[in-house]
Amino acid sequence: PVAKRAVAEVAQHDKVPRPVGFVPPPPPCPGKIHHFKI
């Protein structure tokens, strides 16, 4: 009989910790709009 190995749930603390309020950096382009977007 094939039994599925129980894989222990990855403990929360093993994930890469992200600082509170982590905001991914904006994409490098396009840049900011200086006036308005047509």
């Binding site: 382009c29 308005f36 977007k37 047509i38």
Partner: protein
Amino acid sequence: VPAAPPAPLGCDDPESEAAAAVAVNYINGHSQHGYKFALNRIENIRVLPQGLNNDIIFLELDLLETTCHILSPTPLANCTVRSFTEHAVEGDCDVKLQRVDGILSVLASKCHSHADSSEDVLQLCPDCPLLASLNNTEVLTAVTTSLNEHNSKTADAYLRLLEIGRAKIQHHPTHAVSVEFAVAATNCSAEVAKVNVEACQLLPEDQSNFGFCTATMVTHPSQDLRVDCQLYGHQPGVTYSQPGQDTS
């Protein structure tokens, strides 16, 4: 271990902004007609290293038309970007630059400009007048009438038309045509021109004196004409070539 390639430049990085400033300055400096353009957004930047301290940079720029005619001595920083409700004109430019030892120079540029869509303007401002074609009959009449009006009243040089910059037609509550056009002083006073206008020629390059006029001609329900012309004064090295004689 070979050094890791430099991280790709972001469009808001100071180096990108510096390259964009050189590109916009080049575009305005090599344009012969229309208005000065200002940077609105750096769409994309690609840097191709060519060797030590030698890069080729490709920029995709989004520009916006300003209210300064290309012949105006006003510094670009003091030129107002035409607002959305004035029916803005956008410029899309691809520019190739070279950076050697930190010095930027433009190798090539190609631009395409287009007015914002009428739907966009009317959606935000239902009563805003829209851009009209520069060879529209009403536009040509407004330009001719207002320039004649100025020349009939001025004590200064007789002015000749160089080009029409932009025109808008409002249909209500009044029917009004607003025009902007570039002019140049001739070697005649307005008085002399009344007698023999054929003799009035544009001043030679070393004395040229360009200017700019704005005018509004109301035709309904009342008749009204307002025109304002300002000459810039002689600007050494600034020349004007009639449309169609442009060097690419």
